[in-house]
């Protein structure tokens, strides 16, 4: 499935849809990484990642713990570089523009690329309402009924509205772990990003809430580009259009072993290591 791309560097980038390549005047739509490396100090955490996320598609990233999945998606909203001593090299293109070019403002970029973290991290001093509204308010946003509407819609999307509608003024940290995670999902949705990066959003959720979140992902797929890191194979198979499998090399640097349409990855993987991991024959 890997073909040469029309990008200047001549690096191979996975491209799936024939028409997509040229749908935007030759500019590749979506989120593309080319030769992406990321370090924590001396530790090379991910090596030479070439991956392509398409608009209106869900891409799942799977792989064993510590292989660099979180690190990878944190490179896409430039959060990785906020860690002291952390460094990135390579290119990441959003709709053809390098997000690591000197002209890109990471703050503007992060408004377009939302993120749900691996561990729920609601703002501890804020009410449930404010947790969801803050992204809009602090970005110079709106007030009043329009804001309340967006908060309600975001909470409904995140399958949390019914549980919190009577206590919007309580602090977010009073909620259960799973509720907090859904609050964080609502918070990310409220600012209406174009891309949603989700780092194991369901790891703290029960099957019902998980199902609701998966429904949400399927409905968001109509408009957003979604990247979801998951340890749950069934979930990857259920919600994603494409799947990437990562594995840490000998030196602990994570590499993208295989990438392709989800059905093919799960039924007919090309790489022996992918097959071993998916069938559970792998540590």
């Amino acid at each position: 499935m890997i073909k040469s791309s029309p990008l200047p560097t001549g690096v191979t980038v996975p491209v799936r849809d024939e028409e997509r390549k040229v749908s935007n005047g030759g500019v590749q739509e979506g989120l593309v990484s080319i030769g992406l490396n990321a370090w924590y100090g001396r530790l090379l955490a991910i090596r030479n990642i070439n991956i392509h996320f398409e608009p209106k598609h869900v891409t799942a990233i799977i792989g064993p713990s510590g292989c660099g999945k979180s690190t990878l998606i944190r490179c896409f909203n430039r959060l990785h570089e906020t860690v002291p001593g952390a460094r990135v090299s390579g290119q990441v293109l959003l709709d053809g523009k390098d997000i690591y070019s000197p002209g890109t403002d990471p703050v503007q970029l992060r408004r377009r690329i939302g993120m749900v973290f691996q561990r729920p991290n609601p703002f501890p001093t804020m009410s449930i309402f404010d947790n969801v509204a803050t992204g809009i308010k602090l970005n110079g946003g709106m007030k009043g009924s329009r804001l309340a509407e967006i908060v309600e819609r975001s909470l409904r999307h995140a399958a949390l509205w019914d549980e919190v509608k009577d206590k919007l003024r309580n602090t977010g940290t009073d909620l259960s772990g799973g509720q907090q995670q859904r609050l964080c999902i609502a918070r990310a949705l409220a600012v209406e990003p174009e891309v949603l990066l989700m780092d194991e959003p369901c790891s703290a959720l029960d099957p019902i809430a998980t199902m609701k979140i998966e429904d949400l992902i399927r409905s968001l797929r109509e408009t957003y580009m979604i990247v979801i890191v998951t340890h749950n194979m069934q979930q990857a198979a259920r919600v994603s259009d494409f799947t990437g499998f990562m594995l840490a090399a000998e030196d602990r640097a994570g590499e993208l072993i295989e990438f392709g349409p989800t059905p093919q990855m799960f039924t007919n993987p090309k790489d022996k290591r992918t097959e071993d991991y998916i069938t559970g024959r792998f540590g």
């Binding site: 991290n121 703002f123 602090l138």
Partner: protein
């Protein structure tokens, strides 16, 4: 080899010693408070709180100049010391990972340890000599220097307790770093920051030495920021070493007022900041 009995005995002895020390500390505080109340309360009445000191030899008179002076000096110290200390604390916790950060941190710790009388002398040389007179302003500056490192270091420590993931959550929403710090991280550390400010205020409210060469003291009311001003600790010091028994009992009264002021401010501030949450 220690037997069970001896280990048990050691345990009891150590526990007893710890308890004894804890009691000593509490007893000291209670003794100071009750002694001050016993000696000071008789001196306190409306006139004492609201009128100026009488000339030497005449009885009566009050300490209104010193109460106002202390409020003014601590207020000035806050106006200068809180912004500088708080911003320095934010700098240290959010951006202080580099060499310059450790230099600033070390300097703050040293400044914290500098005897307050030395700070008074420094401000005397820096401000009083240049202005040509003792002044309320120089007193406020001296107290601000004492306050700054306390506020900066406690603010830094409490900001550090706010988890990194909270900062990341703010940044990931496309909120600029400065907004994230001011609107999300700082409220999370508010209790600690306020504690630091209160510690700083309580500390400088009772400082006498640095005021000797700066605010100097004044038996009249407020005469402008560029003139000497009275302060409770100064007045206590002068009255307590005087030979007049009337002044000595006024010193006790002033001491009680000073303690009460510090307590009331910290209680009020605590209540106000708790409501904000």
């Amino acid at each position: 080899m220690s037997t069970y009995a001896t280990r048990k005995a050691t345990n009891w002895i150590m526990l007893g010693l710890c308890g004894l020390c804890a009691i000593t500390a509490t007893v000291a505080l209670i003794a100071i408070l009750s002694y001050t109340i016993a000696k000071g309360a008789p001196a306190i009445n409306l006139q004492f709180l609201t009128s100026l000191p009488q000339p030497v030899g005449e009885t009566g008179g009050g300490i209104s100049n010193a109460i106002l002076g202390t409020l003014l000096l601590v207020g000035l110290a806050c106006v200068i010391g809180i912004p500088v200390g708080l911003l320095a604390g934010i700098y240290l916790s959010e951006f202080g990972g580099h060499r310059f950060g450790s230099v600033v941190r070390f300097t703050a710790d040293v400044l914290f340890g500098v005897p307050s009388i030395v700070i008074g002398m420094f401000v005397y040389a820096l401000v009083v000599i240049r202005m040509g007179s003792f002044s309320a302003l120089s007193g406020g500056i001296a107290l601000a220097f004492i306050m700054m490192p306390i506020i900066a270091r406690t603010a830094e420590e409490s900001l550090r307790l706010v988890p990194t993931t909270i900062r990341e959550a703010g940044l990931a929403l496309g909120i600029p770093l400065w907004r994230t710090i001011l609107s999300i991280v700082l409220p999370g550390a508010l209790t600690g920051v306020v504690t630091g400010i209160m510690l700083g205020m309580a500390r400088v409210a009772g400082e006498t030495a640095p005021l000797l060469f700066t605010a100097f003291g004044n038996r009249l009311g407020f005469q402008g920021l560029d003139n000497p001003v009275a302060a409770l600790p100064l007045q206590i010091y002068r009255y307590a070493i005087s030979p007049y028994s009337d002044w000595q009992s006024q010193a006790w009264g002033a001491a009680l007022v000073l303690i009460a002021l510090v307590l009331i401010t910290s209680v009020v501030v605590r209540i106000l900041t708790r409501k904000r949450r």
